[in-house]
């Protein structure tokens, strides 16, 4: 996260930096230094330690097991079947959650951007899932809605013969994706709505006068305009969905089997069920590298939007 901040910081200052003298530029930086040091100490030292530990074989439960292991931990990641399953689950989860929530978010944003009755209340209600704590949300889903003994959904589906379906057990990935989509749709909706509201209605009006129907003006005018917003939402969203942990812990605990074990949850299992610090660190380092790659794309999109806005 410090990387994110520092990139944002340097990006903003770059343009004028060349024209001011060294002393002046230091005088500008000085007040920022405490914040920078604080962020650096809190984020980069643990990260450096993680990298360090990833080269050691160390199991907390085995006193005296601490030894240099070179790239053993990383080599283990490539061959380990559990890691492969976790990576696949992460990709599956991220892609489906982002795709579905972008589509739904777009639909809701379009609805809220038009003149409908009760727009204000609807907007507030739509944002709610994003504001509920992930853990609390997952628990409500698991117990109040989906529990086969006393849940709401099995009760409502009873007339259709689906009253005894154990959703979490029988369709674990579908359940996790559903809960995550519920959580991330408002986020996508907010970002896309921001894009829609920057649209000049006169252009749409003109298109209508020229004989374009609703679908045509959506495809040719609205969609290209909000595309950067969708990209941004998708990239920022993936950044966080890749790290999904709370809802998996609460809903399925990575199971049944390994059906919903993603990379962060595997890391948790290796670190806190197996207490293999070295191996867990290696997984952590790889996960961070992947996240940085996604984050870089996200930031680039963000700056493209800022630049376009600045030019107006």
């Amino acid at each position: 996260m410090a990387i994110l901040r520092s990139v944002v910081g340097s990006g903003g200052a770059r343009g004028s930096a060349a024209s001011v003298s060294r002393r002046e530029s230091w005088a500008r930086r000085l007040p920022l230094l405490p914040a920078f040091i604080y962020a650096f100490v809190l984020t980069q030292i643990p990260f450096a330690l993680t990298v360090y530990y990833s080269f050691f074989s160390w199991n907390l439960l085995k006193p005296g097991s601490f030894r240099f292991a070179g790239l053993e931990n990383y080599a283990g990641l490539v061959t380990d079947e559990h890691v492969r399953t976790a990576v696949w689950n992460t990709v599956l989860l991220t892609v489906s959650v982002i795709t579905i929530s972008v589509v739904l978010g777009m639909a809701v944003a379009m609805l809220l951007n038009s003149e409908v009755f009760g727009k204000g209340i609807m907007r507030t209600l739509m944002i709610a899932p994003f504001l509920i704590m992930p853990t609390a949300g997952a628990l409500i889903w698991k117990h109040t809605l989906l529990n086969p003994l006393y849940g709401l959904l099995p009760y409502l589906l009873k007339p259709f013969g689906l009253g005894r379906v154990d959703w979490v057990g029988q369709f674990p990935m579908v359940t996790v994706v559903t809960v995550e989509v519920w959580r991330w749709t408002p986020f996508m909706m907010l970002i896309i709505l921001a894009g829609l509201q920057s649209q000049n209605p006169e252009v749409l009006e003109a298109a209508r006068v020229d004989g374009a129907n609703a679908l045509q003006s959506f495809r040719r005018i609205t969609l290209p305009l909000v595309r950067p917003f969708i990209e941004l939402g998708a990239l920022l969203g993936s950044l966080f969905v890749v790290q999904t942990y709370d809802s998996i812990y609460m809903l399925t605990y990575g199971g049944p089997g390994e059906d919903t074990t993603n990379v962060p949850f595997l890391l948790y299992l290796v670190a806190f069920q197996g207490y293999s610090i070295g191996q867990a660190s290696a997984i952590g380092v790889v996960a961070v590298i992947i996240t940085i790659i996604v984050a870089t794309f996200a930031l680039r999109t963000l700056f493209t939007i800022f630049q376009v806005e600045a030019r107006r």
Partner: protein
């Protein structure tokens, strides 16, 4: 697009607010991602810190701490309460790094011999010797064996349990069934199938993955079916016929007459189902009976853990107080342990909080207190006998190189047990067969066994 009014010029300002909104969202997210938990500490005369699991008995202990502090003015007790898996992680990290954050902690029978072996725990025998009133001979034999390592006690029990069969006498009687005191699994299965109806299921058995959840009852079934995790040479035995029979029996019973959604039912879910009259029987921890209400409290019968080949198949678990060898306040810590596990503590809980709240399964003398006997009439004797007969060193039909009844007392078992139970949960959900699950489990166990073969 429906017809809409032209917007007023001030909507031009919107784009900037859009950017502000996005920037704000990013900041919020960054902030959320970076925020973590902070720790706290305290100073004073002698403050001892106890890392505790959040079960009802420990909550009661927390309430009675002022009683201890007023009797021992030099000692303050700080109790950190966390759910089971979290306290386990925190305490493990603390003792493994010997940082001494916790002077005392609650650990289970699983950890005591393992941690004593690593010299993470303080030997309590010298402390017990100093207090003539402590009477370690009064601790229930099965529990005492489980907490002893090389002849010395390394932890003292605060709460103990075995497993038993609980059943609704009225529901079984309606089908003309009487449950014997020592039932076999075949009798239990037949009864479960007989009483099973759309509204009331036959039996509740844990299916929730986890070595401390689903595997606890399942392992006792495997034991009494003659199965074992490893043979004397640490060869994994999960592909044996006994395992196959036991797991097939368990899964089939759940499918035919078990609770719906068995894959996510643990102790809490089953307690809920039994208390609400949704299941007629329940095989689980002996402590469960003290949480019964309504019909469940009035009409329940209690039988010993069901058997197949091996008799006395009940499990054994205790929450204990143990002292970290890295603690710098050992004498104060012992004073508190002594008080909290003494004979008088049970009486204090009984008089101050009610006799039903006394933690079961630690001392034989507790079971001779008339008020406690009255409060736990139906299940006190079954509990005491089950715990007394539970032997962590002879739990299986064939001999094994490990101790433990519903677990294998090795470091790797937490992870192994969790992974294996996940595979079994997949069988319960109907997403793979018994053979597939046991094949994967055998591979996982073989990897672990190899570490002990040289």
């Amino acid at each position: 697009m429906t017809e809409r009014k032209l917007r007023s010029p001030d909507h031009r300002a919107r784009p900037r607010s859009a950017v502000t909104l996005i920037a704000g969202l990013v900041l919020v997210l960054v902030g959320v991602a970076c925020s973590g938990a902070g720790g706290g500490g305290g100073g004073g005369a002698t403050t001892i810190t106890l890392g505790s699991v959040d079960n009802p008995s420990m909550t009661d202990l927390k309430k009675l701490v002022p009683d201890f502090e007023s009797a021992h003015s030099g000692i303050k007790v700080n109790i950190v309460t966390l759910p089971e898996d979290q306290i386990r992680q925190q305490v493990t990290q603390d003792v493994a790094t010997q940082s001494g954050r916790f002077d005392l902690f609650t650990i289970g029978t699983y950890e005591v011999p393992l941690w004593a072996n690593k010299k993470w725990l303080e030997n309590l025998d010298p402390y017990i010797a100093k207090d003539s009133a402590y009477d370690p001979g009064d601790l229930i034999p099965g529990i005492k064996t489980a907490l002893t390592y090389k002849g010395n006690l390394y932890a003292v029990p605060f709460y103990g349990e075995s497993s038993m069969l609980m059943y609704r006498k009225d529901l079984l009687a309606a089908k003309g069934i009487t449950m014997p005191d020592h039932p076999t699994w075949d009798q239990v299965a037949a009864a479960a199938r007989a009483v099973n109806s759309p509204n009331v299921n036959g039996i509740c058995l844990r299916g929730l993955p986890g070595w401390g959840e689903q595997l606890a009852p399942l392992d006792t079934v495997v034991n009494t079916y003659g199965g074992r995790w490893f043979d004397m040479n640490w060869n994994a035995q999960l592909n044996s016929q006994q395992w196959k029979d036991a797991l097939t029996f368990y899964v089939k019973l759940l499918k035919d007459a078990g609770e719906p959604g068995a894959g996510s039912a643990g102790f809490t879910e089953c307690l809920n189902a039994y208390n609400n009259g949704k299941v007629a029987m329940w095989y689980d921890a002996t402590v469960a009976a003290s949480f019964f209400t309504g019909d469940a409290a009035k009409n329940s019968g209690y039988a010993f853990a069901p058997t197949k080949v091996k008799d006395w198949s009940g499990w054994l678990w205790a929450w204990t107080l143990a002292m970290g060898s890295a603690s710098k306040k050992k004498d104060a810590a012992w004073t508190f342990m002594d008080w909290a596990t003494s004979k008088d503590y049970a009486k204090l809980v009984g008089t101050k909080l009610g006799w039903a709240r006394v933690a079961p399964g630690t001392r034989t003398s507790t079971y001779s207190i008339p008020e406690y006997k009255a409060a736990s009439a139906g299940f006190a004797q079954v509990t005491l006998d089950s715990i007394s007969h539970a032997d962590v060193t002879h739990a299986t039909v064939d001999s094994v190189p490990y101790v433990g009844i519903q677990y294998v007392d090795i470091d790797e078992f937490q992870q192994l047990g969790d992974q294996v139970s996940q595979e079994f949960a997949k069988v319960i959900a109907g997403n793979q067969t018994v053979d597939q699950a046991l094949q994967k489990a055998q591979a996982l166990a073989t990897d672990v066994g190899k570490k002990y073969q040289h």
